[in-house]
């Protein structure tokens, strides 16, 4: 897979609700389109997204072909402790891409 853009505030106050935005570069090929050769283009989509905060799952999503190419996801979490947020995207072939972001909580 390719590059992901993640927007997490670098610093936050303890207990503050922060917004997280992610954009993954991916074609999200639906499997319903026909290619130039008249054959169906095989499905290639991200099915599962998971975000963990210091090892605990805070948010996950199951995506279907109706989600756009380069899937954008936005959600919130409570800034509990300084640490790492781990984001993972898994496609329908079982390939997973992981990216991390760190946050400092005061």
């Amino acid at each position: 897979m390719a590059r992901a853009l993640i927007n997490v505030p670098q610093k936050a106050k303890r207990g503050e609700i922060i917004e997280i935005k992610t954009l993954m570069s991916h074609p999200m090929e639906t499997g319903f389109r026909t290619g130039l050769d008249g054959q169906l283009v095989p499905r290639d989509i991200i099915e599962q997204f998971v975000c963990t905060y210091n090892g605990e799952v805070v948010f996950s999503a199951h995506l279907y072909p109706a989600i756009t190419a380069n899937p954008f996801l936005s959600f919130t979490t409570i800034a509990a402790d300084s640490g790492t947020l781990v984001f993972s995207w898994t496609d329908n072939k079982g390939e997973t891409q992981v990216q991390t972001a760190s946050i400092q909580v005061e």
Binding site: I17, T30, F32, R33, T34, G38, L40, Y53, E56, V57, V58, F59, S60, A61, H62, L63, Y64, P65, A66, I67, T68, A69, P71, F72, L73, S74, F75, T76, T77, I78, A80
Partner: protein, 147 residues
Amino acid sequence: MNTTRRQFSLLTAGASLALVTPARATPETMKESIQAFTGGKPIKEGRVKFDISLLVENGNSVPLSVLVDSPMTKDDHVTRIGIFNEKNPLPDVAIFTLTPRCGRAQIATRMRLNDTQFITAIAEMSDGTYFSAKSEVIVTMPACVEG
């Protein structure tokens, strides 16, 4: 049997038509996948604020957001949010799983729209109740046309 030229072209035309017309979701299949999501439990209206444009020019990328009225505590929070449609090839759009650590039951994403249709957002609460909101979106240029 000898196939005439006319018969042959009719046959191939039929075959290619069958290829480019994939199965489509209908209001019935949407109901089925909503039933699978709720397990057949009743769905009430309210508590869900579903934000999506009423008129979009390009169905390839339509931003949407859902905000559910919930305190998001351990005892009372939103566990899942499901988005469903009537006229895309598949009735499901996405299912989001939330936790009390989200702090707020708010999500945003972007979806494809194949036609003018109703989109439904359903929130599952930790006490097993369901709330929904729906919105009609008019699409002037649907997704999938260039496919």
